[in-house]
């Protein structure tokens, strides 16, 4: 069983689903069902694959497959996951069926073209294949190829579907150019790194490029070229400006995948490529990056508070959260890195859910402006409840999994950079403001009637809102359930990510600060 190519199956399965939706076939008419079946089958396969994963060796790559791909360049098709990779793969495959469910009723409203939903779902499945592959890649070139190639489906998902035609074009192009520019700079780094390595037909394997004794200045340049690409992707201050535009214009499902999963590639790349490949440069750059991360935390949170648009608000909360993830990674303690790894998973669940719920609200009101909402608590109690729980996860309420990861990041960072940790904690307070104030404005108070201006814009009356349908509910409930389970019983997840974190700290050569008490307490 261990020799079965589970990861390849996980990559191929959504590709087949995507093909089934693209190619002319009788299945075309039932796009939603087909996409859901493939997405659920993917979850099942992922669970089986995870069962074959030996948690006691979670720091090592498992389910490994290595085949020569382009021998002339030294490129291999090499996949395998360690604990972090597996956690992210699982999170990605869980999110996709929920996005499919959330898109269930959007046919005809958001996707104006007749078979828009079919194309949308085909792109989402294609993206899923890329996402799984990128988290499993063990070859720098292969990683790069996926890193760039996945821009294309996302580009079409942002540009092809969404509210405002001209502004979504702008958002899609901005997204693509930002990402391409970052990626191409990384390409030079990729080439130069290969030159430094052992070469040969497997010269791009991450394992073969780890532990090179690079010339310090070369190492710094290589690190910078990789880090810029990842910082744009993550996105970090000051290269985050594409995200609010993209998230505002894209349909909610796209944003959920984009922010929930895709942007993790940035932080995942920092963790699994920057740290092991360029340990000295990572230590050299860490103070600078930690400052940027703290700025991201505070700046993202402040801007989130100031937003008038729900989608942009969620996007800025993510800038803040990504600051936490980056902070934890570059604090170089096993506690903080475990926290960051776990944070990546939790943030995917939490932000994915938040985008879907905002999507429900916007689909009903046909406006993302917070000012157009109010007093919905009595009208749509279930939606309000779901929003509150998911919102609380965004502010890291104890009992939800996000609390544990944020706590670990702050505690782990405090041991080495107390000042950064203290400033970062302000971000937690700001999170309470942006979540609760938003909830207050949207759901509490008396139910307002439409103002004349809103009548002119033909917004549906708030008083005629229907509560969440069964399908909509089931798209969000699994996320909340997962956050609750991992909130009270995080041990399995921490067992997955902790060995990898220890390995990362060793690779980067930093003095680890063991915090057994903190981790074990959180683990209870």
């Amino acid at each position: 069983m261990s020799h079965f190519p589970w990861l390849t199956l996980l990559i191929v399965l959504p590709l087949l689903g995507s093909l089934a939706l693209w190619l002319p076939s009788p299945l075309r008419g039932r796009a939603r069902e087909v996409a859901l079946v493939f997405a659920l089958a993917e979850v099942a396969v992922a669970v089986i694959a995870a069962a074959g994963f030996d948690t006691s060796r979670a720091g090592e790559h498992q389910l490994v497959e290595t085949h020569s791909w382009i021998a002339a360049f030294g490129v291999s098709y090499a996949v395998g996951v360690d604990g972090v990779g597996l956690a992210l793969v699982l999170m990605s495959v869980v999110l996709v069926p929920l996005v499919v469910l959330a898109a269930w009723r959007e046919q005809g409203s958001v996707h104006e073209a007749t078979d828009g939903l079919r194309r949308y779902l085909a792109l989402a499945l294609l993206l899923e294949a890329f996402m799984v592959a990128v988290f499993a890649a063990r070859d720098v070139f292969f990683f790069y190829v996926l890193f760039e190639a996945m821009l294309i489906p996302v580009y079409f998902m942002i540009g092809g579907f969404g509210a405002d035609r001209s502004r979504r074009r702008y958002a899609a192009v901005k997204f693509l150019l930002y990402s391409l520019a970052g990626g191409l700079v990384m390409l030079i780094g990729v080439i130069a790194l290969y030159m430094q390595g052992p070469g040969g037909p497997q010269g791009f394997l991450t394992d073969n490029l780890t532990g090179l004794s690079l010339d310090p200045s070369v190492e710094k340049w290589l690190f910078v070229s990789f880090f810029i690409a990842f910082a744009i992707k993550a996105p970090m201050f000051p290269v985050h400006t594409w995200l609010p535009d993209a998230a505002e214009q894209a349909p909610a499902g796209t944003s959920a995948l984009l922010v929930g999963v895709l942007d993790k590639v940035g932080t995942f790349g920092m963790l699994t490529l920057c740290l092991p490949l360029f340990p000295n440069a990572s230590r050299w750059a860490a103070p600078f990056i930690i400052v940027l991360a703290v700025v991201s935390i505070i700046y993202g949170a402040l801007l989130a508070i100031g937003q008038k648009n729900l989608f942009r608000l969620v996007a800025y909360t993510s800038v803040s959260h990504f600051g936490f993830i980056v902070l934890g990674i570059f604090a170089f303690t096993s506690t903080s890195i475990s926290g960051s790894s776990f944070y990546m998973v939790n943030h995917g669940l939490s932000t994915g859910g938040l985008f879907l719920l905002v999507g429900y609200l916007v689909a009903r009101r046909r406006s993302p402006e917070i000012a157009d909402f109010g007093g919905l608590q009595k009208q749509v109690p279930v939606l309000a409840g779901l929003f509150l729980v998911v919102g609380l996860s965004a502010l890291s309420l104890p009992g939800l999994s996000t609390f544990i990861s944020e706590f670990l990041v702050i505690v782990g960072t405090f041991a080495v950079h107390p000042a950064a940790a203290i400033v970062a904690s302000i971000g937690v307070v700001l999170a309470a403001i942006y979540v609760l104030w938003t909830y207050q404005r949207v759901f509490t108070g008396p139910l307002p009637t439409n103002t004349p201006d809103q009548d002119v814009r033909e917004l549906p009356a708030l008083g005629r809102f229907a509560d969440v349908s069964v399908v909509e509910r089931w798209a969000v409930v699994p996320l909340i359930a997962l956050m609750l389970v991992l909130g009270f019983w995080p041990r399995p997840a921490l067992d997955l990510v902790r060995p990898s974190a220890v390995t990362s700290v060793q690779q980067v050569g930093a003095q680890d600060v063991p915090q057994t008490t903190a981790t074990s307490e959180a683990g209870k």
Binding site: A72, A113, V145, A149, R165, R169, L177, L180, I188
Partner: protein, 550 residues
């Protein structure tokens, strides 16, 4: 006393591919004279395709010998069939094959891209008669074969005189072909004249350079010049000037800055299938020749030429991308894109690294496939008037708006070629770009590679512009009229309506090719993807024979 004439011994085997093509071209001229008009087109197309395929077979037969022995040297270096030469010839033949298919396609409109009678003045009665009689200028095919033969020799010769002859053999037919467009004939003829004049100018530089090199070294053979370069004699100044002038001639052919001025006009004016053939084929031939000149003949001058090569490469990348950003015509846009690509290839050349030739050749293959395919698609995207009559190509970018909705298959295929141009992973263009940049970094030219990737990012913008236009138009094509109505009504009455109405009547449509162009486009598309995902086989094959014969 007159020495007894000794007939040279010619080994015809390695010459076979070139001989097949040129002989077929001569036969094609005879066919024009003797075959009745109604069979001519079929005969010419069959002959051309057979000749190109035959030449490919002949190359395949020579492959194993070249691989094991390093290659053939015919007539003491006048013609060399070593690995790089063989690969370049094979790429040229593949491009020729795919291009001939596009040229031969008369589409559902039953017209090919060429004027029915090129000698008739545009707009004259003769032209009308020729059109109504359905005449066709089938000389196109022999001309293409001559050009192909010239291209094949261009990169495979070790002798400057043969190089010059090959240059003319490949150029003269292209000058002619550029002027043969069926529509916008004046523009086409202007393109032809411009190409000819500037080409003649470049040829003059080129032959002057040859003369200077001959003066400095006393020989025209690459191998002997290489020896002379290695031994200082005091004529280095002459040699260097000659070498630079030869390079100028080659820069002109690849469209490198500052010798690129002809490219946009000629690409725009020439019949579109010819543009594809010329853009792809000429570049392969000229870069193959440039590589041989630099790697074999001037290997000892590497350092002195670096400054020239770097300057030209950087200028070419920058001008190509910056000027490309503001184009509004799809053919001109691809022309500037081809200039930028020449710059990217030059980074691989300028590295003067041992990986250079194989990476450049792969790049040219990827670029050639995307180019032929893209221009083939441009040739079937047409204007349709209100009466339903399909006329010329819709080359204005604005006319491509919404193509993704109205003709999704064509638009997605074009998208694929654009992605390959932009160097997005999983297309052949990315592999090529990776290969040349990695050769540049390996050869120590990392600043070139850095500028290359930045230029690629900027160039991506104008490919993205076309993608946005095709798939996310500012307004639905069907909504265009409804959107415009309130605006017109808000205007000052009937005058506005009358002015705007005719402009909207011309719509964009895609004519159905009669099969040949479809095959060509499909092959280009499939190869672009296959070489993007599994480039290993081709890369290995090219690098196995990457060594030049001295």
């Amino acid at each position: 006393m007159i020495a007894e004439f000794i007939a040279p011994t010619v080994s015809w085997g390695p010459l076979a591919p070139v001989v097949v093509v040129l002989l077929a071209a001569v036969v094609g001229v005879l066919l024009e004279a003797f075959v009745p008009a109604r069979f001519r087109r079929v005969a010419q197309v069959t002959l051309s395709l057979a000749a190109v395929v035959g030449a490919l077979v002949a190359l395949a037969l020579a492959w194993s010998t070249v691989k094991s022995t390093g290659g053939y040297d015919v007539l003491s270096g006048s013609f060399v069939l070593d690995g790089p030469a063989l690969v370049a010839q094979a790429i040229i033949l593949v491009i020729a094959l795919l291009s001939v298919l596009v040229m031969a396609d008369r589409t559902a409109s039953d017209e090919d891209a060429f004027a029915p009678m090129v000698s008739a003045a545009p707009g004259s009665d003769y032209e009308k008669i020729a059109t109504t009689r359905g005449m066709a200028q089938t000389e196109v095919y022999p001309l293409v074969l001559f050009a192909t033969g010239g291209m094949m020799i261009f990169g495979s010769t070790g002798d400057l005189l043969t190089l010059f002859v090959a240059l003319e053999v490949l150029s003269l037919p292209l000058y002619l072909l550029s002027g043969m467009a069926r529509r916008r004939r004046l523009q086409s003829q202007e393109a032809s004249l411009k190409y000819f004049l500037l080409g003649a100018f470049a040829s003059a530089f080129f032959i002057f350079g040859i003369a200077l090199v001959y003066g400095a070294t006393g020989t025209l053979r690459y191998s002997e010049i290489a020896t002379a370069v290695a031994t200082p004699t005091g004529t280095e100044g002459l040699l260097l000037l000659g070498a630079v002038l030869i390079l100028v001639g080659l820069f002109f052919k690849v469209g490198a800055v500052p010798f690129h001025m002809w490219t946009p006009d000629v690409y725009q004016g020439a019949p579109t299938p010819i543009t594809g053939f010329m853009a792809a084929g000429t570049k392969v031939a000229a870069f193959a020749a440039m590589l041989r000149v630099l790697y074999v003949m001037l290997a000892g001058l590497g350092w002195d030429l670096t400054v020239v090569l770097w300057t030209v490469a950087i200028a070419t990348m920058l001008v190509g991308t910056v000027a490309g950003l503001v184009q509004t015509d799809i053919k001109r846009l691809l022309a500037y894109s081809s200039i930028a690509h020449a710059g990217f290839v030059l980074t691989g050349v300028a590295a003067l690294d041992k990986q250079g030739p194989s990476s450049v050749l792969f790049y040219l293959l990827a670029y050639g496939l995307a180019t032929v395919g893209a221009f083939a698609i441009i040739s079937i995207v047409r204007e349709r008037s209100a009466s339903g009559g399909v006329s010329g190509e819709a080359t204005a970018l604005s006319q491509w708006a919404g193509l993704g909705r109205t003709h999704p298959v064509v638009a997605v295929t074009f998208l694929l070629f654009l992605l390959s141009f932009a160097g997005i992973p999983l297309t052949a263009g990315f592999v090529g770009k990776f290969a040349v940049f990695s050769a540049a970094v390996h050869g120590g030219a990392w600043p070139l590679a850095l500028i290359g990737v930045l230029a690629s990012a900027a160039a991506a913008f104008f490919y993205v512009k076309v993608i946005v236009l095709m798939f996310f138009p500012a307004s639905e094509p069907t909504q265009a009229s409804t959107d415009a109505e309130p605006a017109a009504a808000a205007g000052t009455g009937t005058a506005t309506l009358l002015q705007t109405a005719p402009a909207r009547v011309v719509t964009t449509t895609v004519v159905r090719p009669n099969g040949l162009a479809t095959v060509s486009i499909a092959v280009c598309a499939v190869l672009t993807v296959v070489l993007g995902i599994f480039p290993g086989g081709v890369l290995d094959a090219i690098s196995q024979v990457a060594a030049y014969l001295p």
